[in-house]
C-alpha cells in the first residue's frame, strides 16, 4: 500500500501539469511618432499672481512657462504637445490629483503639471510628470530661482522631462553664440551675438566695426573666444560675457584663427599662420605658456578636442586636399580618418566622445555628416548648395550649422541662416535669429 501511495505521489509530481510552453511573440516594429504629451499651464495662487505681474509685466506666468516647455518639446521632434483647449482638468487640480481618464481621452500618454509661487522675492517652482496610461507619477521636482529667470525655469523643466522620457540628458537650458550678419555680401557687417537656444534673449557682444568670426563658448560658459580683425590685425581674442572685457590671446607675430577651448577650459587651441604655413598651437590662459602642436608645411586648422582631452581632431591638406585627421593632444600619432571623395573640413568631436561631425564638399555640393572617431561609419545627414560648420548640442544628439542661400545668380537675395538637425537625420529645422546668422556654437548646459 505504501508503495502504491509513493508511486501515485511521484506520478503526480512528475506529470506535466497541463503547462503549455509560454508563447513568445516578437515585437520588432513600432512607430516613430512623437510622444503625445499634455503640458498643463503651471498653476499659481492669487497673491503670487499680482506680485509677479507687477514685477515681470507678465499676465499669466504659469501659462508662459508652459509655452516655453511646449515649444522646446515640439522642436525636439520627439514629442507632440497637445492643444491646451482640449484640457479638461484645471491646472491646480491636475497638479494634485490628475484624473487620468480625462487625459487619456485626449490621447495624452504623459502629463506635465506644476505650480509656481513667489516666496521672499524668489520664484519657487514645483512640477510633476505623470504616466497617463499606467496612472502613476513618474517624476516630481522643485527648485527656486530669481523671477527674471522664468524662461530658464521652462528650459530646466524641459531638460528633466526629456531625460525622464528618453533616457538622454536634455539640451534646452543652453545658449548659442553666433555671428549676426547684415549688409551686401561684398561688405558684410558682422557682430557677435548670444541667444537662448530657443531664440529669445538675443544680446550683441560687439558693435560690428570690425570683422568677427568663428566664436566658441568656454565649458564654463562665462568666457567666449573668437577671431577679430580689430585694427586690421586678425587675432584670437577672449571676451568675458559678464564684464564685456576683451583680451587678445597671446602675442603672435602673425594671424591666429580658428580658436576653441580645451574641455577643462584652461587652454585655447588655435591655428597660427606664418609665411604661408598654418600650424596648430595651444596657449594656457593662466600661465600664458604657448605650445606648438603640429609642425608641417601644410595647412593645419579647425582643431577640436575629444571630451576627455586626450585627442585632437583637425583639418589638414597635407595629403594634397583638405582631409580630417586625429592626433594625440601632444601632437603625436597623427592619423588620417577621412577617405571619401571630395574635401572634408570643420571636424568637431561629439560631447559623447563617439562621433566626429564634419562638412564635406563633393561635386559642388556641401554635406553635413558624422563619422566614428576611427573614420568608419560615415553618414551624411543633409545636403545643400552651401552649408558648413556643425556644432554639437551638449547631449551629443543635435547639430546646429549654417546655410547660405542666394535667390539669383548675381548674388542677389543673399542670406545666411542657422539650421539644426537630429543625429538620425530627422527633424531638420530653421533656428530663428533676429538677423542673418552664421558660425553657430552651442554652449554646455547652464544649470550644471
Amino acid at each position: 500500500m505504501k508503495k502504491i501511495k509513493y508511486l501515485i505521489f511521484i506520478l503526480f509530481i512528475t506529470i506535466p501539469t497541463k503547462s503549455f510552453s509560454l508563447i513568445e511573440v516578437d515585437i520588432t516594429r513600432g512607430n516613430l511618432n512623437p510622444l503625445p504629451i499634455a503640458v498643463s499651464p503651471l498653476s499659481y495662487n492669487q497673491e503670487s499672481r499680482s506680485a509677479l505681474e507687477k514685477e515681470l509685466k507678465i499676465e499669466d506666468l504659469g501659462s508662459e512657462i508652459s509655452k516655453v516647455i511646449e515649444n522646446n518639446l515640439k522642436k525636439s521632434g520627439l514629442f507632440n504637445p497637445l492643444n491646451n483647449d482640449a484640457f479638461l482638468q484645471k491646472p491646480d487640480i491636475a497638479h494634485l490629483k490628475p484624473r487620468f481618464e480625462d487625459w487619456a481621452l485626449i490621447k495624452a500618454q504623459a502629463l506635465l503639471t506644476g505650480k509656481v509661487d513667489l516666496q521672499d522675492e524668489k520664484l519657487r517652482v514645483e512640477f510633476r510628470l505623470w504616466d497617463v496610461l499606467a496612472g502613476k507619477e513618474m517624476l516630481a521636482l522643485a527648485f527656486t530661482t530669481v523671477p527674471k529667470n522664468w524662461r530658464r525655469v521652462g528650459h530646466i523643466i524641459t531638460d528633466k522631462v526629456y531625460e525622464r522620457l528618453t533616457g538622454e540628458k536634455g539640451y534646452f537650458d543652453t545658449r548659442i553664440i553666433y555671428v549676426a550678419e547684415e549688409g551686401p555680401k561684398t561688405k558684410r557687417i558682422k557682430k557677435l551675438a548670444i541667444m537662448d537656444q530657443d531664440g529669445f534673449n538675443t544680446k550683441y557682444l560687439t558693435l560690428g566695426k570690425e570683422l568677427v568670426l568663428t566664436p566658441r563658448f568656454s565649458p564654463t560658459n562665462q568666457i567666449v573666444t573668437y577671431l577679430s580683425y580689430f585694427r586690421n590685425l586678425p587675432r584670437v581674442y577672449i571676451l568675458d560675457i559678464e564684464t564685456g572685457i576683451q583680451e587678445v590671446v597671446g602675442d603672435f607675430p602673425g594671424m591666429t584663427f580658428a580658436p576653441r577651448f580645451s574641455p577643462d577650459g584652461k587652454k585655447i587651441i588655435m591655428s597660427f599662420a606664418k609665411d604661408g604655413n598654418s600650424d596648430i598651437y595651444t596657449m594656457d590662459l593662466e600661465n600664458r605658456i604657448v605650445e606648438r602642436i603640429t609642425n608641417h608645411p601644410s595647412i593645419d586648422t579647425s582643431p577640436s578636442y575629444s571630451p576627455d582631452g586626450k585627442y585632437i581632431t583637425f583639418n589638414s591638406d597635407r595629403s594634397g586636399y583638405q582631409q580630417i585627421y586625429v592626433m594625440r593632444s601632444d601632437g603625436s600619432k597623427t592619423k588620417r580618418i577621412s577617405f571619401g571623395n571630395g574635401l572634408y573640413g570643420t571636424p568637431v568631436w561629439s560631447p559623447r566622445g563617439d562621433l566626429i561631425a564634419f562638412t564635406r564638399l563633393h561635386r559642388g555640393k556641401f554635406y553635413i555628416g558624422v563619422m566614428r572617431t576611427d573614420g568608419k561609419g560615415e553618414r551624411l545627414l543633409t545636403e545643400n548648395y552651401y552649408q558648413e560648420a556643425p556644432s554639437w548640442s551638449p547631449n551629443g544628439r543635435v547639430l546646429i550649422f549654417y546655410r547660405e542661400t542666394k535667390s539669383g545668380d548675381q548674388g542677389e537675395g543673399f542670406s545666411a541662416k542657422l539650421w539644426s538637425i537630429d543625429l538620425t537625420g530627422y527633424n531638420e529645422r530653421l533656428v530663428e535669429t533676429e538677423t542673418d546668422a552664421s558660425d553657430p556654437s552651442w554652449s554646455s548646459l547652464l544649470s550644471n
Binding site: I15, F20, S21, I23, I27, A134, Y162, D422
Partner: protein
C-alpha cells in the same frame, strides 16, 4: 616551304595560348554562390495547415498496431527546422516519442529521467517540435486520468491494455486539435503583432548600438485585457548606464496599455492566457 609552315603554325599556337591565358574567365576563381534555400510559401489561414499532419496520423495508427514495448534509450529527438514545413519527422523519431510515452508505464526512476528529457526538448525546439512533444505529454496526461493505467502500475500485465486504450483515444481525436496545441497560428500572431506595432511609440532617443530588447510577460483575460504585466530582467531597470532600458521598458508597457484589449484568438484561452512579448527596438533604430 615546310619550314615556314611549321614556324607559322608554331607562332599561331603561341598567340592562341597567350590569348587564352590572359582571358579573364580562366584566371578568375569560381563565383561563390550562396547555397539555395528552398522556401515554401505557406497560405495563411485560420488554422495552421501543416502538411505533415496526415503523416503523423498514419504513424500513430502504425504504433497502435505495434505490440512490443521498446524500452529504448532515451535518445534526444532530432531537431526539426522551424522554417521547413515539409519536414517530416522520421518514423523512428515518432516511434521513439511514442515509446517514451509507453515506457512511462515502466517503474519510476526512468520516468523521472524522461520527464527531464521532455522539458529539455521543449526548450530546444520551437513550435513544430513542441507540437510533437506536446502530443506525448497529452499521452502522459491521458495516462494519469486513465484508471487502467493506474491499475497497470500495480499489475504490469494490464499495461498493454491500458496503452492500447490510450492510443485508441489518441487517434480518434481530430487532427487539427493535435496540431494547434501550442503557439499561435501564423495569422493570429500576425494580427497581434500588427496591433502592437501600431501602439508602440519607440522613444527616438535610445542609443542605437546597445541591446534594446525588453521581454514582458502578460497574464490575460479571455477578452484580451491585461491582468498583470511583468518585466523580465527587472534588475536592469536600475542599473547605472542602462537608463535607456527603463525608458524602453516604459514605452513597451505604454504600448500594451494603449492596445488593450489585445487582439487575442477567439478560442484556446488556455494556451495564450500567459503571453510573452519581446520588444526589440534595434531594427527600427538601426535602419
Amino acid at each position: 616551304m615546310h619550314r615556314s609552315l611549321v614556324i607559322s603554325f608554331g607562332f599561331h599556337i603561341v598567340i592562341v595560348i597567350l590569348t587564352v591565358l590572359s582571358l579573364p574567365f580562366i584566371a578568375k576563381k569560381p563565383i561563390d554562390l550562396p547555397p539555395l534555400i528552398s522556401i515554401e510559401l505557406i497560405q495563411i489561414t485560420d488554422k495552421t495547415n501543416i502538411p505533415f499532419a496526415p503523416k503523423a496520423k498514419k504513424i500513430i495508427e502504425k504504433i497502435k498496431k505495434e505490440k512490443d514495448t521498446l524500452v529504448s534509450e532515451q535518445a534526444p529527438p532530432k531537431k526539426v527546422k522551424k522554417e521547413n514545413p515539409k519536414a517530416v519527422p522520421s518514423p523512428d523519431q515518432k516511434m521513439k516519442k511514442i515509446d517514451e510515452a509507453k515506457s512511462e508505464a515502466i517503474p519510476l526512476p526512468e520516468k523521472k529521467a524522461k520527464k527531464v528529457k521532455m522539458t529539455e526538448e521543449k526548450k530546444q525546439n520551437p513550435t513544430k517540435e513542441d507540437t510533437k512533444v506536446k502530443q506525448v505529454s497529452e499521452f502522459e496526461k491521458e495516462e494519469i486520468i486513465d484508471p487502467n493505467k493506474i491499475a497497470a502500475l500495480i499489475d504490469k500485465s494490464k499495461k498493454e491494455i491500458a496503452e492500447t486504450t490510450k492510443t485508441t483515444n489518441r487517434v480518434t481525436q481530430s487532427q487539427d486539435k493535435n496540431m494547434n496545441i501550442s503557439g499561435l497560428t501564423l495569422s493570429e500572431e500576425d494580427a497581434l503583432k500588427a496591433q502592437i506595432f501600431g501602439c508602440w511609440s519607440i522613444p527616438l532617443g535610445l542609443p542605437y548600438n546597445e541591446n534594446l530588447l525588453v521581454k514582458i510577460k502578460l497574464k490575460l483575460q479571455p477578452d484580451g485585457s491585461v491582468i498583470k504585466t511583468e518585466i523580465l530582467d527587472h534588475a536592469r531597470m536600475n542599473k547605472p548606464g542602462q537608463g535607456f532600458y527603463k525608458v524602453l521598458a516604459e514605452s513597451a508597457l505604454r504600448a500594451i496599455q494603449l492596445c488593450q484589449p489585445l487582439r487575442v484568438p477567439t478560442t484556446g484561452y488556455e494556451r495564450w492566457k500567459d503571453l510573452q512579448l519581446n520588444f526589440d527596438a534595434r531594427e527600427m533604430l538601426e535602419g
